[in-house]
């Protein structure tokens, strides 16, 4: 009986602790896998007028039109031209999909909860407000992104 409970717990943890990592320049970021619907290569983005600077436009994802934001611009980093390695990570927030353009997608990793630290308080980095925490993985550090903050108005 006890073992069963433990197993269940473990399974839940497996689901919960998975993160997808991606790179922007040399920095590595991670997204909770529960948010992620899809990862696609970069495709034609149709521009939409009168939008925030980081909203690149909309794409056609198998018949559904979803908006796409460029995470570099969102983090106030310089724009980098898209290439073969550029990916769009499709996440689902509040039941609506949105694509996030990243330099490249790396891998899926496990970070258990006790290996996640709160983001440092003093850092004045623009990206900081989109951080959920800092995770340790294989002696490196990844920044865990707060998906909800990405779509929040400034």
């Amino acid at each position: 009986m006890k073992k069963e409970i433990l197993n269940l717990q473990e399974e839940k943890n497996l689901e919960e602790d998975k993160y997808l990592t991606f790179a922007i320049g040399k920095e590595v970021f991670a997204l909770d896998i529960q948010y992620i619907d899809d990862i696609i290569g970069v495709q034609d983005i149709t521009k939409v007028p009168e939008q925030p600077y980081y909203l690149m436009g909309v794409i056609n994802l198998r018949g559904i039109i979803i908006p796409v934001i460029d995470i570099r611009l969102r983090f106030n980093k310089s724009f980098r031209a898209y290439d073969d390695r550029t990916c769009i990570i499709v996440v689902k927030i509040d039941d609506a999909q949105i694509g996030i353009v990243v330099d490249t997608v790396l891998e899926v990793i496990n970070i258990s909860e006790d290996e996640i630290a709160n983001p440092p308080g003093h850092e004045a980095d623009q990206a900081k407000q989109y951080m959920k925490g800092i995770g340790k993985y294989n002696n490196t550090v990844v920044i865990i992104i707060d998906c909800d903050a990405l779509i929040r108005e400034d």
């Binding site: 149709t46 009168e50 939008q51 909203l55 909309v58 018949g63 559904i64 908006p67």
Partner: protein, 675 residues
């Protein structure tokens, strides 16, 4: 809704239909001030409601229906003097309201807990009154009084006592009350509920659901059930005691042998042939049942899904037919086949669209009820005329149009129509007129409310709006339309005092919002002392649009073809500028403002010198010229709403997928009109 058991769903569905019919009958009889023709049908409806409600153990509903039934039973035989009609109809409406409230409680999954006592008393008093001192003769059907009151058996107790009981066999024979009605349905509900308690069951007659003639058989011979159960006898007894309308009940315990014997005896033989009893009412219900089977109720979501799929199909079709791989090939047969496909898809689209279409008459009927109720309360005599009730609109529209219409009609009654004295002194007929009409005009449905009241007071509206800072320019510069549109602002009401029906100024802005969400517009016309007319224009469909594609830089816009008036090429030298720098083009002696989409939306473009084209669009009788690089052609597109993560852009109503999978923005003509 999905959580109800099927019996309850059926009950709610049927009762709702009956109530609507009932309301209509009452309205009709009130209009002609004569109820004679309607009495039998009202009686029948009440009787059915009573029966159904009692079966569902909804006593209060049943009691109210029963009282009205009594009343009408009595009315059947007497000469009606007009004095009573008003009151009879009032009672009827009161009963309808009571039913509706209870039904809506049930629909929400709550208990129907309304109390019928007062109402029953009222009808009783009324009956005594019209009878004089004499006790009503026909009021003796003792259905309600005979209704068995029971205390729910406490399950837990019996369970403990008889937990170890072994399967037992029983035979039961049930006779229903003489006036129970629909014995077959009642029998079915017994069997249905019994299923949970028994492990094996046979009942006779066995075709109670399909065969209406079994009613007569059950009446004469009783309804027999053979079953095997592991529940205690006491529990079974208490179950059967809860049944309504049961006159007599024989229950016998059997051993297995006897059980088998009886089963064999019953099984091969159908119930003895029943002599055909031709009963007028009976045939009618049978007819009703067969006609009902032509309809199925479908979850709206499924229809929505189907609609989406057809949309995808339209896109997929044009992806195939306009496939660039085929562009250079000569494919006669392919062309032929694809034309065929197009036809089929078009038809399919029409059919699915029509599935969602519902006639407006229910909504209109609701309005006449409102007028009726208000008439009494505000003391104005108003005649509501309904035109084009059969006009069909999308289901979404029906849902959202009722509230706005109600507000508009209330306004017309309260603010528009004058009281009798004023009307007479102005030489108008003492009876006010409101005309509610619906019709299809082009791709729109137009629903308008026209009254012959005092009309809108332009000055009062202007000053009020000025006071509230809603408008700043002097009155002389405002067009009539502009001033009328002001009443659609939140918190605007010119009426000094607040009445029960209107005056709080929350009406018209709700109207405006609801209509806007349907993609519709409101037009107001008014003439002082002659009346006003408020028209609502709603597009027939919101899902698929016939579009005209135009290219601006790299961007492709889709313009609803309905809005396009004409397109032409003009030499740049003919474009003139007014003092504000607004570009204009003079066509046939009239100046039209020009909007260059390129500048308007800050679109990047490589060749600025491209010789573009002007497209004249029209909305609300206003015209604007849009300037684009070129027209690409016409195509049906599927409208996709703006994602919530995309900011609303004025002039863009949504996105559309084009045949090649690329995305186009759909322009909303109203967004370009200059105030």
């Amino acid at each position: 809704m999905g959580t109800h058991d099927p019996m309850m769903e059926m009950y709610l569905f049927e009762t709702n239909q009956l109530l609507n019919r009932l309301e209509q009958l009452c309205m009709d009889s009130e209009r002609k001030q004569d109820i004679t023709d309607e009495i039998p049908e009202i009686f029948r409806i009440m009787h059915t409601i009573k029966g159904n409600s009692m079966m569902m153990l909804l006593e209060d509903i049943g009691k109210v229906a029963h009282r009205i039934e009594d009343l009408f039973d009595y009315l059947k035989g007497v000469d009606l003097s007009k004095i009573y009609i008003e009151r009879i109809i009032d009672y009827n409406f009161e009963a309808i309201d009571f039913f509706k409230e209870e039904i809506s409680k049930l629909e929400m999954g709550a208990e129907a807990n309304g109390d019928s006592k007062d109402f029953v008393q009222k009808i009783d008093d009324f009956l005594t009154e019209i009878h004089g001192e004499k006790k009503p003769e026909s009021n003796t059907k003792p259905t309600v009084e005979n209704q068995k009151y029971f205390i729910a058996p406490s399950n837990s107790k019996t369970d403990i006592l008889f937990r170890e009981s072994i399967p037992e066999y029983y035979y039961i024979k049930i006779f229903f009350d003489d006036d129970a009605q629909m014995e077959n349905v009642r029998a079915f509900s017994i069997v249905h509920n019994l299923k949970d308690l028994t492990s094996e069951m046979q009942y006779f007659p066995s075709d109670i659901v399909e065969n209406e003639e079994t009613i007569e058989y059950i009446k004469a011979e009783g309804f027999e059930i053979l079953f095997k159960t592991s529940e205690s006898e006491a529990k079974m007894h208490s179950y059967f005691e809860t049944l309504a309308f049961v006159k007599k009940l024989d229950m016998k315990e059997l051993d297995q042998g006897e059980y088998q014997e009886m089963l064999e005896l019953r099984l091969p033989g159908e119930p003895e042939t029943i002599e055909e009893v031709v009963h007028e009412e009976f045939i009618k219900t049978a007819e009703k049942m067969t006609s009902k089977q032509n309809f199925i109720s479908v979850d709206v979501h499924k229809v929505d899904k189907l609609m989406d799929l057809v949309g995808e199909l339209v896109v997929a079709e044009s992806m195939v037919i306009n496939n660039p791989d085929l562009a250079t090939l000569k494919l006669n047969n392919f062309q032929k086949a694809s034309r065929q496909l197009r036809l089929v898809i078009n038809e399919m689209q029409d059919v699915i669209m029509s599935v969602r279409m519902v006639p407006l008459n229910m909504t209109f009927q609701k309005m006449s009820r409102i007028v009726r109720d208000m008439k009494k309360k505000v003391g104005k005599d108003v005649n509501l005329e309904l035109i084009g009730e059969e006009t069909e609109v999308d289901k979404n529209v029906i849902e959202k149009i009722a509230d706005p219409l109600m507000h508009i009609i209330r306004n017309a009654m309260d603010h528009g129509i004058e009281d009798k004295k004023t009307r007479l002194s102005m030489g108008k007929s003492p009876e006010g007129r409101i005309q509610l009409s619906a019709s299809h005009v082009g791709g729109d449905v137009v629903i308008s409310v026209k009254d012959d009241g005092k009309g809108l007071d332009k000055e009062a509206i202007y000053y009020k709006a000025y006071e509230k800072g809603l408008i700043t320019k002097p009155m002389e510069e405002c067009s009539d339309q502009e001033i009328y549109q002001l009443i659609m602002h939140a918190g605007f009401s010119t009426k000094v005092e607040v009445t029960e029906f209107s005056g709080r100024g929350v009406g018209m802005d709700v109207v405006a919002k609801n209509i806007e969400s349907l993609g519709g517009t409101i037009q107001i016309n008014s003439e002082q002392d002659k009346g006003s007319e408020i028209s609502i224009l709603i597009p027939l469909t919101l899902a698929i649009v016939d579009g005209m594609m135009m290219r601006v830089g790299e961007t492709i816009f889709t313009l609803p073809i309905m809005a396009v008036k004409e397109s032409f090429i003009v030499e740049q030298s003919e474009v003139i500028e007014d003092s504000n720098g607004q570009e204009m083009v003079m066509i046939r002696g009239e100046c039209y403002p020009v909007i260059r989409l390129l500048d308007h939306y800050n679109i990047e473009s490589s060749n600025e010198l491209a010789k573009g084209i002007f497209v004249m669009i029209e909305h609300d009788d206003k015209q604007v010229l849009l300037y684009a690089d070129e027209l690409i052609g016409e195509q049906q597109v599927v409208v996709k709403s703006l994602s919530k993560f995309v900011k609303k852009v004025k002039g863009i109503s949504g996105f559309a997928l084009l045949g090649d999978g690329s995305i186009s923005m759909i322009l909303d003509p109203s967004g370009f009109m200059m105030a």
